[in-house]
């Protein structure tokens, strides 16, 4: 059937083209549209029946008319993949953007990606040291995890993502990461920032970039992350790379999803986002992990900006239900001048317990992290009380917790943009130092054996 060109467009609505046709067209098939001026656009079949086909056009429907020729290519969307992707910059539809040659394909890979059989997965359990204390100690990242950064406009999430990309290393092997970077609807300025930073540190040679900018077609954003993940899967599972996928900004992706839903006149779910957004996001996020019999891995760092700093907004909310934790960036800490402004309290790493402990980080890691949380949480809560009744009304225990929360922010959270703290001597020892500001009897989360072994004052007494 390929080769036949239809000129049967009846309706054009937003990014969708409706046409009557005569021969069967498959669901999900790729479509080529030839405009009257000879230019080409690409699309994909969203709905197909004997009478009508609905096509979603990636480049937008501007200048499409009823004379536009529509050709069904008889295949679903595929990305040419090879090791040559590393070091390249591609656009949001997978075409070279860096002036280089087309990718020479070793293989054409279906971009939708099949689900990994849960039985075939391997449990992620190798600790990744990011060199950022807040993450390493409190929300430890594990190879094969998907850990989003929940941020908001005006916060330095890009710096944090880049710092992680630069510093991430495995403590139990010398393997390096390959970075697959996927930009969806970010501004040219942000894009330049990323590229410059990756160039400055030489990381660009070890990265593949898929870039859809703010002025590129919104619908194209729906395929950009799928291309990036397809490339990542190929590199990880065919060539044994450890791949770190950073995508920014998931919020733009979800906006595009809503746009398509609205154009199809679907029944909307919360706040106008389609009811299937959970499933759709899962089909991206779940492409992280390790599988049996393959050496490579995919670790994901999606970045999303929470509209109105609202963590209950459908985008962060549905993401949080799929991803294995989240790193929450705090405006309050940012305004205090603390970098990285990571609020560890709502942050979480679900795979942390599998990645830390003896032989991985250190035996006391879990206890220390619990104690840091508990003390900092109590200290922060007391700040509200002190604002009303003053410090005099606090008992000894509360006073120490209050002081600790300030020290914790100032010395533990705060660190330089290029400061790479090793987990044991850098992060955990620092935590013990700071915790020694609190009387041992109030450190109820620490087991006695760790206090005996690691507490700085106890150590001196030995």
């Amino acid at each position: 059937m390929s080769g036949k060109e239809y000129r049967t467009i009846t309706d054009v609505k937003g990014p969708l083209v409706f046409l009557n046709k005569t021969e069967p067209v498959s669901f999900g098939e790729i479509v080529q549209l030839r405009l009257s001026d000879g230019s080409m656009k690409n699309g994909q079949v969203l709905d197909t029946s004997d009478d009508q086909v609905i096509v979603q056009v990636f480049e937008g429907t501007a200048s499409i008319d009823r004379q536009t020729g529509v050709k069904f290519l008889g295949d679903v969307f595929k990305l040419p993949v090879s090791k040559g992707l590393i070091g390249r910059i591609l656009d949001g539809a997978g075409r070279p953007r860096d002036g280089g040659p087309e990718i020479v394909a070793d293989e054409m890979a279906d971009i939708i990606g099949a689900a990994i059989n849960p039985y075939s997965r391997q449990s992620p359990k190798s600790f990744i040291q990011t060199g950022i204390s807040a993450i390493d100690a409190c929300t430890s990242l594990v190879r094969g995890q998907k850990l989003p950064i929940f941020s908001a406009s005006g916060l330095p999430h890009n710096d944090i993502a880049l710092q992680i990309a630069r510093q991430a290393k495995l403590v139990d092997s010398d393997d390096d990461f390959v970075v697959v970077f996927c930009a969806m609807g970010i501004t040219a300025e942000e894009y330049n920032f990323f590229v410059h930073d990756l160039e400055r540190t030489g990381a660009l040679e070890n990265a593949a970039l898929f870039v859809n900018l703010a002025d590129d077609p919104a619908v194209e954003r729906l395929i950009t992350p799928r291309l990036a993940l397809t490339a990542a899967e190929y590199l990880a599972f065919e060539h044994d790379y450890h791949v770190l996928v950073i995508y920014t900004d998931m919020t733009n992706y979800c906006e595009s999803l809503r746009q398509i839903g609205a154009a199809r006149e679907e029944v909307p779910g919360r706040r106008g986002y389609p009811g299937y957004m959970y499933t759709d996001l899962a089909m991206l996020y779940e492409r992280a992990g390790l599988v049996k019999g393959k050496k490579g891995s995919i670790t994901q760092f999606p970045i999303l900006t929470m509209p109105g700093d609202d963590i209950t907004h459908p985008i962060p909310d549905l993401s949080g239900y799929i991803t294995e934790g989240q790193i929450v960036i705090s405006r309050e800490l940012h305004q205090k001048g603390i970098y990285p402004p990571i609020n560890v309290l709502p942050s979480l790493s679900r795979l942390m317990n599998a990645g830390i402990g003896p032989g991985k980080t250190r035996e006391d890691h879990k206890s220390v992290s619990d104690q840091l949380y508990a003390a900092y949480a109590q200290g922060r809560e007391l700040r509200g009380l002190v604002a009303i009744v003053g410090e005099d009304a606090l008992n000894e225990r509360d006073l120490q917790m209050l002081k600790f929360s300030d020290i914790f922010e100032d010395q533990f959270l705060r660190q330089g943009r290029d400061e790479d703290r090793p987990i044991q001597e850098g992060t955990l020892d620092l935590a013990w130092d700071l915790l020694s500001n609190i009387d041992t009897k109030f450190l109820v989360r620490l087991e006695q054996k760790w206090i005996d072994k690691y507490h700085p004052t106890d150590k001196k007494e030995e």
């Binding site: 669901f27 999900g28 059989n117 997965r121 008992n395």
Partner: protein
């Protein structure tokens, strides 16, 4: 016959419309050239609307649709235990063999191994009159669980012959006089509850080893519980703790639209964890269903029914079964997605109007029953709910709370303080204690209900006092109220908090829970006396023996030591009177 074979007319995601075919509602059909499995969910003039359990891209109108005459069913028989299935009972290890690590489509797999031979020991003899549900023989399926082979519902008669020895599950093991042949395997349509004689009121607790659950908000065997909570509040950990430690004989764990890595963790962990009741690996009593979030959404919709049907089957053998569904919200979302593809008129928040009746039907399949064979069996259902933004006013949470008898409310604030399990003791409830109190008095301690009431009253009082403390600080309170705050803190930090990842603390038996609660009350009592005798509150609170008592729960053998630790604490507290 044209009514048997039709063609595809339209495809929209997982929903396919066929024409030229006249199937029954909920009949299973084969769709397209690859024969993808689908289920008829709507009849509309000459069009049949089908939800397809596999990815539909690449399928075209005009491809064939074939009736099978069956409704969506599961295969029931020896071989279910230790297995892991997708939502439509295809064994995942089998899928790995045929398609590799990624799940492609068009592969059919039997739920049970039809070739494997099992040692069948008959429990009946020729001439016996048998009826539906009666146990005709025993197969030792795993080390601990004997599989009781039953007469399928609807069959009965006089036994003509019965076999003994090694058979596969499709071979006839029993013949009736009227020519009926019975094999070890039976099939059952998942959307229909399996029959039983009557439902009883639950009056035995399902023990989970989780202090806050067993002690304050218990679930009865055959009861229903809902666990709503925002992400990160520990729903999955709680569900897994229940799957690990509850004293049910069979556990069915449904991972419905959740994370792949979590299922892997369960798969890795369960074969190594030892069931405290039988001392054999937990896997021996577990059936798992994993339809992760990125697997086809229609199969997710079916997964819950597949799971509960398997649970009912074991119940019919006379077992106590616990079923965990994580998460029912994902199941509801699957319904919503399919409903919106059908262009149905939506109810609240886009969910179909029949959402709450589907939820009710599902939870109603729980219960303690008299089985057809006259035995006592139960299915307890524990459903996780994932309300958007943690706000339980949404339809799935509300629909669930109207039905379940136990509500374990997870709280983001507690999770943030790393108070785990992050179950809010102020708004959670259980409607079972009254029914269970007799059991507690007979089996644990005669004053068990009173101790429980005292503990929960202390927590209530604390909440009221905290409001005052927020305004004036704790030092402004009279000394007896300050003591109450300390006691409540002890309840929270020592009793309610429980570390799921700690070898010892992860499980406390009910006797120990009672002893720990008594220890707290005894601290309160001693402290009151000491303070009345002139001791300082700070000295009383800081006696080293109390710290020992509290930290001791992480040590092995705590059950035996707790008595001594409590009396030591009592001595030290008394001694504080003389200190000033």
């Amino acid at each position: 016959m044209s009514e048997e074979n039709g063609v595809i007319y339209r495809i929209s995601g997982p929903v396919v419309t066929a024409i030229g075919i006249a199937p029954r509602m909920y009949e299973v059909v084969r769709v397209g050239n690859e024969g993808l499995m689908g289920e008829v969910i709507e009849l509309h003039g000459d069009q049949s609307v089908i939800q397809v359990y596999e990815e539909t891209s690449g399928i075209s109108p005009g491809e064939p649709v074939v009736r099978t005459g069956r409704t969506l069913s599961v295969q029931l028989g020896p071989g279910l235990l230790t297995q892991i299935y997708d939502g439509i009972q295809r064994p995942l290890p089998k899928l790995e063999e045929t398609m590799g690590v990624f799940i492609t489509r068009g592969v059919d797999a039997d739920g049970l191994d039809l070739e494997k031979k099992w040692e069948f020991n008959p429990a009946i003899k020729a001439g016996d009159e048998i009826s539906a549900g009666q146990i005709i023989g025993i197969v030792q399926e795993t080390e601990t669980i004997e599989h009781r082979v039953m007469v399928p519902p609807g069959k009965s008669g006089v036994v003509k012959s019965v076999e003994s020895g090694s058979f596969n599950i499709t071979e006839t093991v029993c013949k009736l006089e009227d020519g009926t042949e019975i094999a070890m395997m039976q099939e059952w349509p998942v959307r229909h509850p399996r029959p039983f004689i009557q439902k009883y009121a639950p009056d035995v607790p399902l023990m989970t080893g989780q202090r806050i659950l067993d002690f304050l908000f218990p679930l009865a065997k055959g009861g229903t519980a809902g666990i709503p909570g925002p992400f990160g509040s520990g729903k999955t950990v709680t569900q897994q703790q229940l799957a690990k430690w509850s004293d049910a004989q069979i556990v069915v764990y449904i991972g419905c639209g959740e994370r792949g890595n979590e299922m892997t963790e369960v798969l890795d962990e369960f074969p190594h964890l030892i069931d405290p009741n039988t001392n054999t690996p937990l896997m021996n009593r577990t059936v798992m269903i994993a339809n992760t979030s990125n697997m086809p959404v229609a199969a997710r919709e079916a997964s819950v029914y597949t799971g509960v049907t398997i649970a009912e089957y074991f119940r019919d053998m006379g077992y106590n079964v616990a079923l965990m569904a994580d998460s029912t919200s994902r199941w509801a979302e699957a319904m919503r997605e399919i409903s919106s593809r059908l262009e149905e008129m939506p109810g609240e928040e886009g969910y179909p109007a029949y959402l709450s009746s589907r939820l009710a039907e599902f939870y109603e399949r729980a219960g303690r029953v008299q089985t057809l064979a006259g035995d006592d069996g139960s299915v307890s259902v524990i459903g996780a709910v994932s309300p958007p933004g943690g706000d339980i006013s949404e339809p799935v949470s509300q629909g669930t709370l109207r039905i379940v008898k136990v509500f374990w409310g997870l709280d983001a604030g507690l999770a943030r303080q790393r108070h785990f399990p992050a179950i809010n003791w102020l708004n959670s409830y259980s409607l079972y204690p009254q029914a269970l109190d007799k059991w507690y008095r007979d089996n644990i301690a005669s004053d068990f209900p009173e101790v429980r009431t005292e503990i929960s009253t202390l927590l209530q009082v604390e909440a009221e006092l905290q409001e005052i403390v927020q305004l004036v600080g704790s030092d402004a309170l009279p000394i007896d109220q300050q003591l109450t705050l300390e006691v409540a803190r002890m309840i929270r930090e020592y009793f309610l908090q429980q570390n799921a990842f700690h070898d010892v603390d992860t499980y406390s038996d009910l006797k120990l829970q009672y002893d720990m609660a008594r220890a707290i009350l005894s601290f309160q009592e001693e402290a009151k006396k000491a303070i009345a005798g002139g001791a300082q509150l700070e000295d009383v609170v800081n006696v080293p023996a109390r710290t020992d008592l509290m930290r001791g729960r992480f040590e092995k053998g705590y059950n035996d030591k707790i008595g001594d630790l409590v009396s030591e604490m009592g001595k030290q507290i008394s001694a504080t009177m003389g200190a000033n």
